[in-house]
């Protein structure tokens, strides 16, 4: 989509503002999410080759003081079991050279099985689950592995598009070994028919990059008779490698 096209703004859930719904050029004919124009800088980012001692070459560190092992199981901490299909989501966090990102913080947040967030601004008329908050944390291990136990979130309406629904997704936040590797993104589930109709998934314009946001069913991660396993590996990089393919 050309940046000069006029944009119809809305306000809503994950988008907090969307381009209009009319004929789009995403894979499902939906217009990809471009965000809120009034928040987009007009100037291109200033390229900075970092000094060897630049602050951004290093990153905050996290450890046992920050995260309890219980924080990785979102089904715990309430009086009972949450409703929904229990899942185990795991994978490796790697840098662009394939090296494990060790001991770094992974944060997860999500809607409940009915597609509702615990948040004052979420007005979706789906029930809250008294046994589910939808926030978790863990640290990657020496192999760069992370692992969460949770429930599969429900789809929810994308109120800024007529008759549109967001596919099931998990929000992820990650740190690397350099501050420049910071990443916030969303994980999707394989085979979800809503994907090609989703303005946020399709906002990643490169098809192979988009596929990298979709987990794979992995029976090796199942907990037998308890949870379904999904594998999703994450590759951190500087902010520029994905700049072009995101269509910014």
């Amino acid at each position: 989509m050309a940046a000069s096209e006029p944009l119809v703004q809305g306000t809503g859930r994950d988008g907090a503002g969307f381009a209009g719904v009319t004929a789009g050029d995403g894979p499902g004919g939906v217009r990809p999410y471009v965000g809120r124009v009034e928040r987009h800088p007009l100037q291109p980012p200033v390229p900075l080759v970092l000094d060897p001692d630049a602050v951004e070459r290093r990153a905050p560190v996290f450890g046992a003081a920050d995260v309890s092992p219980l924080d990785a199981d979102l089904t715990l901490g309430h009086r009972g079991e949450p409703l929904g299909e229990r899942i185990t989501v795991g994978g490796r966090v790697l840098d662009g050279r394939g090296r494990p990102v060790r001991g770094q913080l992974v944060e997860l947040w999500q809607a409940n099985a009915a597609g509702r967030y615990v948040h004052r601004a979420d007005r979706h008329a789906a029930p809250l689950d008294p046994n589910f908050t939808g926030a978790g944390r863990c640290l990657t291990d020496d192999d760069g592995r992370y692992r969460f136990t949770t429930i599969r979130p429900g789809a929810y309406p994308d109120v800024t598009h007529h008759n549109a629904w967001r596919p099931s997704h998990l929000h992820f936040s990650l740190f690397g070994t350099a501050f420049t590797q910071r990443l916030v993104t969303q994980m999707y589930f394989p085979g979800d028919p809503l994907l090609p109709h989703d303005s946020i998934w399709t906002s990643v314009r490169d098809a192979s990059a988009r596929r990298r946001l979709v987990a794979a069913y992995d029976p090796g991660l199942n907990e037998p008779e308890r949870s379904l396993g999904y594998r999703w590996d994450i590759v951190l990089d500087g902010p520029d490698a994905t700049w072009a393919e995101e269509g910014r």
Partner: protein
């Protein structure tokens, strides 16, 4: 080996149960005499305040060390971890209490703003050093957007407003060499 990076996606408006944590903006040890306050307002191209944005600060310790320390998420009130995380309030404002960095006098700042497809980077300079490649490369008119202003009468208090778009737009950064520590050969 070169692996393609996982793409970024918008943070969305519902991160509030997951990412903010108590004491996120209290990076300085409790009662530390050198504590400084950095505060300001995040605004958009219309001058409207931007609430619910996540601002993350990462900096050197007062001795110039960049190794950081664990414990940011559950602060013990004594350790200095180098990391702070705050959420802008309904009026777009934020407050960070921290220690002055040693070495180069700036805080690295990552902004995660609902309504953007990816985060932004900038720097908060408490003073401009004599030589700084970034500052020297900027047109003079844009340099001031990276300088925190000491407040008259404020006790070690600095004002740093961030404008996402338009006149006096803050300088945001890109890192072409990705900035990671060099790996093993």
């Amino acid at each position: 080996m070169s692996l393609p990076a996982t793409p970024s996606q918008t943070i969305g408006p519902f991160h509030g149960t997951a990412l903010p944590f108590p004491g996120g903006g209290e990076a300085a040890p409790v009662g530390h005499p050198d504590t400084i306050t950095v505060h300001g307002c995040l605004s958009d191209g219309d001058g409207a305040p931007v609430p619910e944005a996540l601002l993350e600060f990462w900096q050197a310790a007062p001795d110039g060390s960049l190794v950081g320390a664990p414990g940011s998420l559950r602060r013990d009130g004594a350790a200095f971890t180098g990391f702070g995380r705050v959420v802008t309030r309904d009026d777009g404002r934020y407050t960070l209490r921290t220690l002055p960095p040693g070495g180069a006098p700036y805080l690295a700042l990552c902004l995660l703003v609902p309504g953007l497809t990816r985060h932004l980077f900038t720097r908060v300079y408490l003073a401009f050093p004599e030589h700084d490649p970034l500052i020297e490369a900027l047109p003079p008119a844009r340099r001031a957007t990276l300088l925190a202003a000491p407040e008259a009468g404020g006790h070690r208090t600095y004002r740093f407003d961030i404008r996402l778009r338009g006149g006096a737009e803050t300088v945001f950064l890109a890192f072409p060499d990705r900035g990671g520590r060099p790996g093993p050969p």
